[in-house]
């Protein structure tokens, strides 16, 4: 198909979609309406189980099975990246050269690295209380680690980041989620049911039954997944060279 024909096809399809979508919007309940039956029920269920952050309660309690699916997508995406970006036979590794980074930038990276790691852990740990959770905190902690690449050089990062262990950590976190789910089957409840642990005192770290456990498992999984992903991309961009390379 020529570019021109493709553009016309796109315009026709886009115009059709735009018209139908606008017509649908006019019939939708107005923005900011007061009727949210699912939301009201989710909030009630969350408060009944002493989880202060109802969004975490929806993710890790009421729709924990759905989150299992999301986690599987994450796992599969990482697996795909690892396979796609592996070193092939016609490529070789060139050792990364040391980099001279301006001193203030280097110092900043070394100071902020621990602060960002602790913030990531804080966001994971308070997932069932204040905004945050495993998904967000895991990304923050994993990004923090890469300040070593930005502030120093790639060799510094490679020293503190044995990729193999993070791959194992990823798999362990995924299985921890499954095991916590299977534990729900004890006591004749359902898979991933939040019945095995006491709900605890409202608005404390140990409240919410299995929510903090699943939250921590997701935090570990996301952090390991992001580290493994970025490791593959960094390897490709910095170390691995094709045959034509020097």
């Amino acid at each position: 198909m020529t570019r021109r024909a493709r553009l016309w096809l796109l315009l026709a399809g886009g115009a059709g979609l735009a018209v139908l979508f606008a017509a649908a919007c006019l019939k939708l309940p107005a923005f900011g309406g007061d009727r949210h039956p699912y939301g009201d029920r989710a909030v009630r269920a969350s408060l009944a189980r002493h989880t202060a952050n109802t969004v975490s309660s929806v993710n890790f309690d009421q729709r924990a099975f759905d989150t299992l699916g999301e986690m599987t997508i994450l796992f599969a995406a990482v697996l795909g990246c690892v396979v796609l970006l592996r070193q092939t036979r016609d490529e070789h590794r060139a050792a990364p050269e040391p980099a001279e980074v301006a001193l203030p930038v280097r110092r900043y990276a070394l100071i902020v690295l621990p602060v960002a790691l602790v913030s990531g852990l804080y966001v994971v740990a308070h997932g069932q209380l204040s905004p945050g959770g495993g998904f967000q905190g895991g990304v923050v902690a994993a990004t923090a680690l890469h300040l070593l690449y930005l502030g120093a050089d790639y060799r510094a990062l490679e020293r503190v980041r044995p990729v193999g262990r993070y791959e194992v950590g990823d798999a362990l976190a995924a299985s921890a989620y499954l095991v916590t789910g299977l534990a729900g089957l004890i006591g004749s409840a359902a898979f991933l049911a939040n019945t095995i642990l006491p709900y605890g005192t409202f608005n404390t770290l140990s409240s919410g039954g299995t929510v903090p456990l699943l939250n921590a498992a997701i935090g570990m999984e996301v952090a390991c997944a992001v580290v493994v992903l970025l490791a593959r991309f960094l390897d490709q961009a910095v170390e691995i060279e094709g045959e034509g390379g020097s």
């Binding site: 493709r6 553009l7 796109l10 886009g14 979609l17 735009a18 979508f21 606008a22 919007c25 006019l26 939708l28 107005a30 923005f31 900011g32 309406g33 007061d34 949210h36 699912y38 939301g39 989710a42 909030v43 969350s46 408060l47 202060a52 952050n53 109802t54 969004v55 309660s57 929806v58 993710n59 729709r63 759905d66 999301e70 997508i73 994450l74 995406a77 990482v78 795909g80 990246c81 796609l84 970006l85 308070h126 209380l129 204040s130 905004p131 959770g133 998904f135 967000q136 895991g138 990304v139 409202f202 608005n203 996301v222 997944a225 992001v226 992903l229 593959r232 991309f233 490709q236 094709g242």
Partner: protein, 119 residues
């Protein structure tokens, strides 16, 4: 003002999605196309959150307010969106890995040149 605001968020979501689709179809560089796909995703986030919003309400997080003291917005759509954001990023990573692979195999990241290669 309020009549406009009743539908504006939905229309913005639709616009963001469509403009992302336009970029995807006309892109001359696969990395740019992946960026456009993440713009499309942003449209879905806006739509989901707009559906769950409630006037004069606050976030359904009770770490610093008393339950029942203020109306809250819908937590279900927020839970859907927040997992989507992180999973979307890893899917972006997978697509970028494919782009790297394509550039290795075919020495180009222009989708038009790629289809010429095949034909």
């Amino acid at each position: 003002m309020s009549a406009v605001l009743d539908v504006l968020p939905y229309l913005v979501a639709g616009w963001v999605f469509l403009v992302g689709c336009y970029g995807l179809a006309t892109s001359r560089n696969l990395i740019h196309a992946v960026g456009c796909l993440s713009v499309c995703q942003a449209g879905t986030y806006v739509l989901l959150l707009a559906v769950g919003y409630r006037d004069k309400a606050t976030a359904p997080v009770y770490s610093d307010i008393k339950p029942g003291s203020r109306p809250v917005v819908d937590p279900v759509v927020q839970a859907l969106t927040l997992t989507d954001v992180v999973v979307g990023a890893t899917v972006t990573a997978l697509l970028l890995a494919l782009v790297v692979q394509i550039s290795k195999r075919h020495d180009t990241v222009d989708p038009d040149e790629l289809s010429e290669l095949r034909g």
